[in-house]
Point group: C2
Chain length 444, copies 2
Amino acid sequence: MAIYRQDSSAATFRPHDSPDAHSNRRPRVVVVGAGFGGLSVARSLKGRDVDVLIIDCNNYHGFWPLLYQVATAGLEPESIAYPVRAIVRKYQNIDFQMIEARGVDFEHRLVLTHREPIPYDYLVLAAGSANNYFGNDALAEQTYSLKNIDDAQQLRNHVLWSFERAVNERDPRRRAMLMTLVVVGGGPTGVELAGAFVELIRHVLQHDYPMLDVSEAQVILVEAIDQVLMPFSPKLRSKALEQLRHMGVQVRLNSVVAEVSNGRVVFKDGSAIDAGTVVWSAGVQAARLAEALDAPRARGRRVQVEPTLNLTEHPEVFVIGDMAYLEGYKKGQAYPMIAPVAVQQGKRAARNILARICGKPLHPFRYADRGIMATIGRRAAVLDAFGVKLSGYPAWLGWLFIHLMALAGFRNRVIVLINWAFNYFTYDRGVRLITGARKMVDNR
Amino acid sequence: MAIYRQDSSAATFRPHDSPDAHSNRRPRVVVVGAGFGGLSVARSLKGRDVDVLIIDCNNYHGFWPLLYQVATAGLEPESIAYPVRAIVRKYQNIDFQMIEARGVDFEHRLVLTHREPIPYDYLVLAAGSANNYFGNDALAEQTYSLKNIDDAQQLRNHVLWSFERAVNERDPRRRAMLMTLVVVGGGPTGVELAGAFVELIRHVLQHDYPMLDVSEAQVILVEAIDQVLMPFSPKLRSKALEQLRHMGVQVRLNSVVAEVSNGRVVFKDGSAIDAGTVVWSAGVQAARLAEALDAPRARGRRVQVEPTLNLTEHPEVFVIGDMAYLEGYKKGQAYPMIAPVAVQQGKRAARNILARICGKPLHPFRYADRGIMATIGRRAAVLDAFGVKLSGYPAWLGWLFIHLMALAGFRNRVIVLINWAFNYFTYDRGVRLITGARKMVDNR
């Protein structure tokens, strides 16, 4: 509905609790970010006596847990993205605008954007995360990342185009380089991506390129410490390592990347790998918006929040999900940057906003930990959920089911299910297209 | 299979019919273009005693008859594109390379590319068509086109982004402009696109943007002559016009576009329309490659061919589909630039190549005209095929069935069918995503 129209511009807007405001104006809640956290806030406020505006620089909600399948030609980007307006149009009191938030003026209660500022009574910041290069910004230029749909499409295009180029490459060293993929970071994203790349090469590209000796192709997973999938139990971690190696992923532990330039990955110990594709999934930090805030930040530029999820100095401002730093997880650690935390924090933030409006006390965030899971490949996954630890086939089935159910939109669910069935039974990947090819051919 | 490897470079290649060639070398057929024509040649040569190399600047075969549905958020791009290697890997004697052809050296029998030249014994040019701006190249800069997947995605992104911008536009004139779409050209592409845009606006965007007065939105189909869908019978043409107008498309006949600049479409008679989106589908010509050939050309830069589809001066070179100019259609006209002509010419070219190899006489091309059809919208189409003239619901069902069957790849067929069912029953469009949005927000 038309909540934020011309008449709600910053110039004419007065806070709903200011003495000169119309006494019957509904409080306005602005939610920055249409990810798991932001949508959770909005859903929890549907039909309530507040006007909600979600803003995001994309017009869709991306289901990022499946993003690695877009990058490896298993799913079309459209199947994991769902238009935000298709969600909010069902609710009278929720609106959406495609706007980029660039900062917050806490004093005047304004979200600063690439257009004019947006006034709020209550604000929820849920802008998610960005890659963390730990101060080495050259890495951002020299590696691929996997944070959004454009990233995933670029990575897919680049890997497929590298194999096309390998066909005509006579220098065996350069040919091998074109077929070498390095994934830096042994967290869930890195593990899932490395496994999916090996399957793409072994099941699909090997048949597409019979003239190439695919044994020259390598997928190398690089991890700085001595194990992969840190958040999992030691037993599941070693299961995952075993499954990865069995599939053909070369796992290189205790290897810290010092530099990447022109396809050469140089490690701290002086050794190096030449790779046509280097993907950075070694670290995340809060979205850049966090940096623009006049608020205390913790590690990974996450914004320090009260247990009630709002800022100490500005109790009408809530920060949730990957952007928020709050301790209270296992052994007093900060809550991890994962979707279930964002969803549950969204619900809590929404309830606390409603409590504040009624003058009731706020409640601290309590996390109902339902577990974690990661997929490795065909019939291979690890799952530590609901008190059960699984690996292999049963974990993989659990992973499939839970992710399918979590997808937004019936159409997307059906399309993903069909793709999965196709990929599983044919050992094929239907989406191995190189889009925007003209630019690549020209730049070659 | 590895046919064209390092050892087949131009330097070492000798024509299979030259006296010093290895007597047992198989003739090499190079096919430029993986469209309907090129794939038809390749399929007709599968398992024969020739080596075939298809080259294309994309790694997929695009099913362009459904491209307008990608542009109007009804289908994901991936569902109408099929990887060429997924087709050719089934055949031992067919290979593919992702290379752009830039010319032909007829004397030395070489295809000139963006890399090194490719030698051939027989050549089939099937590079398709490009937009025709009739000498007014400024139109190319000022309008959107619909010739490939990137075009369709750009058009989709632009239209959706225009509506997002309209929400915040206070100037009613500019707001109406953002919601005005002009489609220039009343051929099948223009008619299909205009119909699909009206449905996108009426069925989807109207609900997505309740704050916009969608009656301000206009879809205007512009045609230079006094009727749309020229190739159809007068009765079907007037049926189509009636259906278009009934759906809400404003059809403007006898209107010749003189100029488009900054969203203002100016007509020869001095009148003008302000439109946020202008699509050019008023003319096609042969692909740019035709211009680079030392061969006689006819209207629309199509290459003049013998009735046997080869060049008079170079009988080992065949030109088919949209690129070829051959009279012999109704009343001595040139064959139209449509998929069935390309497919049938591909078969004929393949047979004539095999005939030449055996020293047998070539046969002239004969077209088995199965008819034409165009869709207009939901349950609205015109069909003139197999001696039957239909319009409305039955024509639409026929159109759906024939296009679904003609799609390459089982996965694509299922995905398209599901999308169609979803679009039909929910009146929704699942793929209304704005991709690459960051650039747009920044450039605003």
